[in-house]
């Protein structure tokens, strides 16, 4: 029984609920949050991982029915490979966050924000995400989905002193609601065609191309809204940074993945048919999101905002993979479609890992230096070496550099894209490589961005007093980051192992796996065939290490002491911390080249020449183009409608009389 995946999933949900329940006591005993709630949270994560891995290993499907829900539609849960994979993703990050939280939460004790709310909603949030992944009928799915949104909203608005935070949270909930309703419509159509709200009924639905496309578009809109695809993304960088950092890690690292899960579940699982038009749509939107995401990220100097924009980028990359998968599957190239699909899944877990890691790192900085603004950081590596190391690993991974995990998934995506020559239509043959080019550009820009982040935050000299005073963070926080960092390296070095695990997902969903990928032994990753492409990740890592060691031994004779001296800087005056390159300065060339894409306001502040300051504000164009018009429309409508309530009773009576006469006219 205890080896049954569903048992573990149930345990995970139970523990999550328990943690949120226990946290109610933290009103009087703040310690409870650290010593009871967080460990429970971590345990919930662990058992979710266990459930997921079991489901991935023994590839059978487990289902169950809960005694909840509507009388004729009880909640049905189903744990197949896909769900298992996402359970594992959710669980891993939650585990790390659970480890990290005790140290981080200490900073909040004694604050005037309520701790029970924080712990309780975190637990419910995890419950919601787990239930979304497990749900096997539309009703439970929607309940869990909205639970996820609502609880995360409460967590976002937890620091509610600043009006900006409140606005962000409101916007977040609104957008989540819009997305959810679109998903609801989607399920409505599927249920109407499939005669039933259980997913099993929807799978049997016979959809014409038109209806299938309608459902696809609704799903794409709804889940894309949640996942933060451009141009629906504008709420994301507002909301994610506002939450406490470990929650931001959960939201950016996991919740977006749950949206990806929803998209895969509906499009690959329920609709069950593919059309190249869809593939093109997903591919284009994905590429645009990736590029815009990273460009906007480059313009940020608030660390957490920057990371949030990178989530947009990475979600874009994931959707590029999915788009390629749809494209190839719809044109009958099953193998390559599977490669793209695996690439998307692989990038999903990768992004979960390194984005979680980076947000936890940002949290560590916030904890140690109370600072989110890059322009005030600097030299943190010497003050918090462990965090510095883990953050560096995160930066390398997200920049898709070997031998870390980010590179593997991008490599796989490229491999899929490079099979475009097999497509029949010349248009598609040329669209796909262009998307690949955008992916390459994105990768390079991401590297630039994280050079900026790491260089400005951790290297050089401190730019402000609190940062200069920063102390290393407590052990639990280091543990939380360490786990994720280790996993980043592991997934980068042993892709074959993980891909053989992942195979269960496409086997369950598309009916065929990717055996040839690992057919040449654990050393060689050969997605299509050994002749086409191969990547010996472990070898690369080992040889890099060897050369490093050899180099050190040869030239460094071990780590030989070096003489320390003043900075030379071409012999100019001794540089101070204010002479360092700032984050905005670093991004300036790129800002100039891609200036059209941003809404830039820059100029000089201050009247006297001596205290003039340079002012720069880069804002998102999506606001003016997509959000504000809708708002204005509603405002105009309301202004018209309120005339009804004129305040004069005779006019009211007139309305009654008029309505009466009109109705009589109609009916008689």
């Amino acid at each position: 029984m205890a080896t049954h995946p569903l048992w573990w999933a149930g345990a995970a949900i139970g523990l999550a609920l328990l943690s949120s329940l226990v946290s109610l006591f933290s009103a009087r005993q703040p310690g409870v949050l650290r010593w009871l709630v967080s460990p429970l949270f971590a345990l919930a994560g662990l058992s979710a991982v266990a459930a997921g891995l079991l489901a991935l290993i023994d590839k059978d499907v487990a289902t169950a029915t809960l005694p909840l829900g509507l009388p004729w539609l009880p909640w049905q849960v189903r744990l197949d490979a896909l769900a298992g994979f996402f359970l594992a993703v959710v669980g891993t990050i939650s585990f790390a966050v659970g480890l990290y939280a005790p140290g981080y939460l200490r900073g909040f004790e004694g604050g005037d924000d309520s701790l029970p709310a924080l712990g309780g909603f975190a637990g419910l949030f995890l419950t919601g995400m787990l239930l979304v992944v497990l749900a096997d009928d539309a009703f439970l799915f929607m309940v869990a989905w909205e639970l996820m949104s609502l609880t995360s909203y409460f967590l976002v608005v937890w620091h509610h002193d600043h009006a900006a935070n409140r606005r962000a949270a409101f916007l977040y909930l609104l957008m989540a609601h819009v997305g959810a309703l679109s998903i609801l419509l989607d399920f409505g159509v599927l249920a109407a065609l499939g005669h039933g709200f259980s997913f099993s009924a929807m799978r049997d639905a016979e959809l014409s191309f038109g209806w299938a496309t309608a459902t696809f578009l609704l799903a794409f809109f709804g889940f894309g809204m949640k996942a933060g695809l451009v141009p629906l993304h504008a709420w994301l960088p507002e909301a994610h940074p506002v939450a406490p950092s470990h929650i931001s890690a959960l939201m950016s690292g996991v919740m977006l993945k749950v949206a990806v899960y929803g998209f895969i579940r509906v499009v690959f699982g329920l609709i069950g048919q593919f059309h190249w038009q869809w593939g093109v749509v997903v591919l284009v939107i994905g590429s645009i999101s990736a590029l815009m995401g990273v460009l906007y990220a480059l313009m940020q100097h608030d660390l957490k905002r920057l990371l949030a924009y990178h989530s947009v980028e990475n979600i874009g990359i994931i959707f590029i993979g999915l788009g390629l998968a749809i494209l190839f599957l719809s044109t009958g190239h099953a193998v390559i479609g599977t490669v793209a699909f695996i690439a998307a899944l692989y990038h999903t877990i990768n992004h979960a890992l390194f984005k979680g890691l980076l947000f936890l790192g940002a949290g560590a900085i916030l904890h140690a230096a109370k600072e989110r603004d890059l322009e005030k950081m600097g030299g943190l590596l010497r003050r918090m070496p462990w965090t510095g190391l883990f953050f560096l690993i995160g930066c390398i991974s997200i920049s898709a550099l070997p031998p870390f995990n980010g590179f593997v998934s991008e490599w796989l995506t490229f491999q899929a894209a490079l099979q475009a020559w097999q497509l029949d239509s010349g248009v598609l043959r040329s669209i796909v490589p262009i998307a690949a080019a955008m992916l390459a550009l994105t990768g390079a820009l991401a590297a630039a961005c994280f050079v900026k982040v790491y260089g400005v935050a951790f290297l050089g000299q401190a730019r402000s007093r609190p940062v200069r005073r920063a102390r290393p963070v407590p052990l639990s926080m280091r543990l939380g980051q360490g786990v994720l960092a280790a996993l980043c390296l592991l997934l980068g070095i042993l892709p074959t192992f993980f891909i053989s695990l992942l195979n269960a997902v496409p086997e369950g969903l598309l009916g065929h796996g990717l055996q040839q990928a690992t057919s040449h032994g654990w050393l060689w990753l050969t997605p299509v065939s050994a002749q086409t492409a191969s990547y010996g990740a472990p070898l690369v890592a080992i040889i890099l290490l060897l050369v490093l060691v050899a180099g050190l031994w040869l030239f460094g004779r071990g780590i030989r002491r070096v003489r320390r001296c003043d900075t030379w800087d071409c012999g100019f005056s001794q540089p101070s911390s204010r002479m360092q390159y700032t984050a905005s300065a670093f991004a300036q060339p790129i800002r100039r080249v891609f200036g059209l894409l941003f809404h830039i306001e820059e100029g000089l502040e201050g009247s006297q020449p001596d205290q003039q300051r340079y002012r720069l504000k880069v804002s998102d164009r999506a606001w003016g183009l997509f959000y504000l018009p809708v708002a204005r429309l509603v405002e105009r409508a309301t202004r018209q409608v309120v005339r009804l309530q004129s305040g004069n009773i005779r006019i009211y009576l007139g309305w009654t009389l008029g309505t009466l006469l009109l109705l009589i006219w109609i009916t008689v």
Binding site: Q415, W421, A444, A533, G551
Partner: protein
């Protein structure tokens, strides 16, 4: 993969490391000649490296561990990347280990740490150099990958060894896509290796520096490794251009004779390439930084043209 392949691989790797300074010296010599100077001997780079290695190494107080580790990482990554490009023979284990995308990745890794090292000391010039380096590379990378895609889609493989094999067999027929790809790749190579007109390796004016600005603070063995890595990169791109587009003479097996022949061939190709580079660097002037995008967009454009002409003109023939 049998033992002999690994031996070849090792041999090539060592050869890369050994030959890198020579190419740099050859280009220096040619440029001096073209400027009517006698110039230093082509062995000068070796002497410089030796001198730097034997000198004492100093570091700024503000420098961190990243600053110390960077030279080793940069050198290792560049070397590994180079080792994966067939120099003498296409029977190359490392080519299977790291295909062309992985090579790009390794170079990016090296660049990443180079830029970090530039920012580590916390000087204005270091940051400036890092910013510009990442800027240029961000624009160059897609161009390079697209150019490479043209090759790989033609050869149906991202494994450089098999690409070269393919080209050897099919080198007879003339491909429009290759012209564009070659042109694009040359521009990218110029930008990536920091040559005129994008960057000037011999400049002494800090404000125009890119690569030099990042390694301003280095000294001793660290500086030596950085210089060596730069020379390796130059050689790497040279070999890439020569062997992929003009694969003639490269050995497809491990027979000593064939290897000797291919060595001769590659040396000749590189000498010619050196001449071309030296001439171009003499006649061209360095551009302003903000004209670099135009330059690299041209590279990307050419690469894309290559790709399109491939998928439209050549597939299905």
């Amino acid at each position: 993969m049998n033992a002999i392949d690994w031996e070849i691989t090792l041999l090539q790797a060592l050869l890369y490391a050994a030959a890198a300074p020579l190419l740099a010296g050859w280009i220096h010599k040619l440029k001096a000649r073209l400027q009517n100077r006698r110039g230093a001997s082509i062995w000068q780079p070796y002497r410089d490296l030796y001198k730097l290695f034997s000198k004492e190494t100093r570091m700024a107080h503000t420098a961190s561990i990243v600053f110390r580790a960077a030279p080793y990482i940069v050198f290792a990554a560049t070397w590994l990347a180079a080792a994966a490009i067939p120099l003498l023979s296409t029977r190359l284990a490392s080519a299977a280990m790291a295909d062309v995308i992985a090579i790009a990745g390794l170079l990016a890794l090296a660049r990443f740490f180079l830029a970090l090292a530039g920012m580590d000391v916390g000087t204005a010039f270091g940051g400036m150099g890092a910013s510009r380096e990442m800027f240029v590379s961000a624009l160059a990378e897609p161009a390079m990958l697209v150019a490479v895609f043209t090759l790989t889609m033609t050869a149906h493989s991202t494994n450089l060894a098999s690409v070269i094999d393919f080209n050897l067999q099919a080198s007879s027929l003339l491909r429009p896509s290759y012209m564009f790809a070659l042109a694009g790749l040359i521009l990218v190579a110029v930008a990536e290796t920091g040559r005129i007109p994008v960057d000037n390796p011999t400049t002494h004016l800090e404000l125009t520096m890119i690569h030099e600005a990042m390694i301003l603070e280095y000294s001793g063995r660290h500086l030596a490794l950085m210089e060596w890595a730069a020379q390796l990169k130059l050689l790497l791109y040279g070999v890439l251009l020569c062997n992929v587009f003009f694969p003639w003479g490269i050995a497809v097996d491990t027979a000593p004779g064939a290897l000797a022949g291919s060595l001769l061939a590659i040396v000749l190709k590189l000498l010619l390439l050196g001449v071309a580079l030296a001439v171009s660097e003499t006649v061209l002037a360095k551009m302003r930084l903000f004209r670099a995008p135009a330059f690299l967009n041209l590279a990307l454009l050419l690469a894309l043209l290559g790709l399109l002409s491939h998928v439209i003109l050549e597939v299905g023939l």
